[in-house]
């Protein structure tokens, strides 16, 4: 992590000041005063965050959870059918409609090109991985989510476990959050979705037209001790691992410790909770 932050600082070319801030957090982590505080919440993006928000962002994780996910991109290369399986699992679990027209499209998790997911990581002569393979993208459940900042009704909000969720009954459909999400992870119900749900899951609400939706980290499942549907669909491949980033003993933390991981567009200071092993 330490290395990652410094890499980031170098890449983003943020001034010495930010560097100092980053180091301070690292020092604190190393000295072990708050070993359970996940790295990405403080530090390098602080100077961009509004003071109030910074407070919230810094305070919450100390006591609470911060759910996150580690995705092993290599596993998706080994099994090209896996991508389809995870998106199907999500579609079935969440009554996601499938429209014939692309214009109406709604998606929570899908496979996209490496360069689409990580536009800032360019290569001149692409290796096979970057050229051919696809990576899954879903809402990053950002620790500093721009969509929450933008929403005028608090219909999108960050739960205390770090999950960014939506209240479909409060959303007015202004789509400000869609403009604000720098990852393009939000979809809008351009028309009544109910006629386009192939297999209805009675345990999850369907939506009405005119509201926004996105991946909710399967809040309804983890509440009852289940894994997210997409993680479950990966079986024991270990392609996607879900857990509490604030728990040093969690599987996700172990993976983060053992592997070099990247996040999507880290320079924007959103602090995504989804990490990729590439």
């Amino acid at each position: 992590m330490d290395k990652k932050r410094r890499d980031f600082l170098k890449v983003a070319g943020i001034s010495t000041l930010a560097g100092l801030g980053g180091t301070a957090v690292v020092d604190r982590l190393v000295s072990g005063t708050h070993p359970s505080v996940a790295n990405a919440s403080g530090g390098h993006g602080e100077e961009h965050a509004a003071p109030k928000e910074e407070h919230a962002v810094q305070e919450a994780p100390k006591t609470g959870k911060r759910y996150g996910m580690v995705i092993d991109v290599k596993k998706f290369q080994e099994d090209p059918a896996l991508g389809e399986r995870i998106s199907r699992a999500c579609i079935q679990a969440h009554n996601i409609p499938e429209f014939p027209e692309k214009k109406d499209e709604i998606k929570w998790i899908w496979m996209t090109g490496y360069e689409n997911a990580f536009p800032e990581k360019s290569t001149l002569y692409k290796d096979e991985t970057t050229e051919e393979h696809q990576v899954p993208v879903l809402c990053n459940h950002c620790d500093n989510p721009p969509c929450v900042r933008a929403c005028p009704t608090k219909a999108t909000f960050k739960n205390k476990d770090g999950i960014v969720i939506m209240d479909f009954h409060r959303c007015i459909g202004c789509r400000f959050c869609m403009a604000a999400c720098p990852y393009g992870m939000r979809s809008f119900n351009w028309r009544n979705p109910r006629d386009f749900i192939t297999e209805v899951n009675r345990d999850f609400p369907s939506r009405m037209r005119g509201v926004v939706e996105k991946c909710n980290f399967c809040a309804e499942r983890i509440g009852v001790g289940q894994k997210p549907a997409c993680v479950e669909a990966c079986g024991d491949t270990g392609a996607m691992v879900f857990g509490d980033l604030n728990d040093p003993e969690s599987e996700v933390r172990k993976l983060l410790k053992e592997n070099y991981t990247i996040q999507r567009r880290p320079s924007l200071g959103t602090h995504p909770s989804v990490f990729y092993i590439v």
Binding site: K52, C171, F176, Y183, G184, S187, V211
Partner: protein, 390 residues
């Protein structure tokens, strides 16, 4: 005073009927959209705001433009604007009502619009935008009405109204600044993420708003026997010229930053808007004609309002000049700015937006409704003017 709007010649009624016709079509189209959903528009998950929000953005500017009359008249005591300040205030009212209609047309769940008030969220710029827009609307309605009533009774307006007139000035600046902040505070939308957006919005507003007022004044001179005065018009044209130059200067700076820095995020959208953006072997360029229209109309309009021959000696040329500037800046802000910002998408793809017929009719209808309201307000203002003169 409303009775003034009920008496008019045939042209007046024909004009209102003409506008009413488009309003009627828009109502039908809106009902279709209401019952089907926003899928009837050309918007998609990649271009999630379309004509409605871009018209809204432009019209906030037109509303703010009225302050270019209010400020010189009330702060600098520039007497020549005395007669037409009311035109600016009433234009602001109708532009703001158009803004609100566009917002309502754009909401996926319009009946829940009040949620913005029920769950006030100060960290959302949309919340603040709503506050300042309503504030400015009420201020203009109040000031316009009180001052017009006083004029009709041929007494000086009550002192307390000046308090509201003065706060309406910072409000005018704030409506467009906050509207710019809807865009320029979003991470990852590079075209919008520029500190110059707010000043650029203000500059183009202070050109487009007064340009429309000049056009209105020229029309009213012919059809309603209302003379704004040569001096007032000439001063307005000067304001338009400077504001238009400022806007073009800011646009030029965007180009410099984008192309000289050569950072893809900073020039991709400009490339898309003005030259077409190549992506996987396909050139996407559906907005290019509009943006060149913006530049060409600017040059034409600028020449017509600068050249003393066309500016001072011929109302028709002056009117065409102002109309060109207005249209030019409409293309810039009311088309290019909002739609361009969605290209490329956060996933480095390109989706082009084409409005549907239903969406176009709603858009036209809201403009027509705005001009309907404007006509009635101007009719009242001029009726009072004539009554006082008589």
């Amino acid at each position: 005073m409303f009775e003034k709007a009920l008496k008019g010649n045939n042209y007046y009624w024909m004009w209102l009927a003409f506008l009413g016709f488009f309003v009627g079509i828009a109502v039908i189209c809106y009902l279709r959209q209401y019952f089907y959903g926003l899928g009837l528009t050309g918007m998609s998950r990649d271009v999630s705001w379309g004509l409605y929000i871009s018209q809204f953005t432009f019209l906030v500017g037109v509303a703010a433009g009225g302050v270019m009359l209010v400020l010189p008249y009330y702060i600098h005591n520039y007497k020549a604007f005395g007669k037409i300040t009311i035109l600016g205030e009433f234009l602001a009212i109708s532009a703001l009502l158009m803004c609100l209609m566009f917002i309502m047309a754009d909401l996926g769940q319009p009946l829940r619009g009040l949620n913005v008030l029920l769950h006030p969220t100060p960290n959302s710029m949309l919340f603040w935008d709503m506050c300042v827009l309503w504030g400015y609307l009420l201020l203009n309605a109040l000031c316009g009405w009180v001052i017009l009533t006083a004029e009709r009774k041929q007494v000086a307006p009550p002192k307390w109204i000046y308090f509201f007139v003065y706060i309406s000035i910072p409000f005018a600046f704030s409506i467009h600044t906050v509207t710019a902040m809807l865009y320029c505070g979003l991470p990852g939308r590079h075209f919008w993420l520029s500190a110059i957006i707010a000043p650029r919005f203000l500059a183009s507003a202070f050109a487009a708003g007064p340009a429309l007022i000049v056009i209105m004044a020229l029309i009213l001179k012919r059809v309603a026997n209302f003379d704004a005065g040569k001096q007032a018009i000439d001063k307005m044209v000067t304001i338009i010229i400077y504001a238009a130059i400022a806007n073009m200067f800011f646009v030029g700076l965007e180009f410099f930053v984008g192309y000289y820095s050569n950072i893809p995020g900073h020039y991709h959208t400009l490339q898309y808007l003005f030259f077409g953006l190549e992506h996987h072997g396909h050139v996407y360029n559906n907005l290019v004609p509009f943006m060149w229209g913006f530049l060409i109309l600017f040059v034409i309009g600028f020449f017509l309002i600068c050249n003393p021959q066309t500016r001072r000696n011929n109302d028709l040329w002056l009117g065409i000049g102002c109309a060109s500037i207005f249209l030019s800046f409409w293309l810039d802000k009311g088309i290019g700015f909002v739609l361009g910002g969605f290209v490329p998408t956060p996933l480095e793809e390109i989706t082009e937006y084409y409005p549907t017929a239903n969406e176009l009719f709603i858009t036209i209808g809201i403009w027509a409704a705005g001009f309907f309201i404007l006509t009635i307000l101007y009719k009242i203002a001029i009726g009072v003017e004539h009554e006082v003169e008589a």
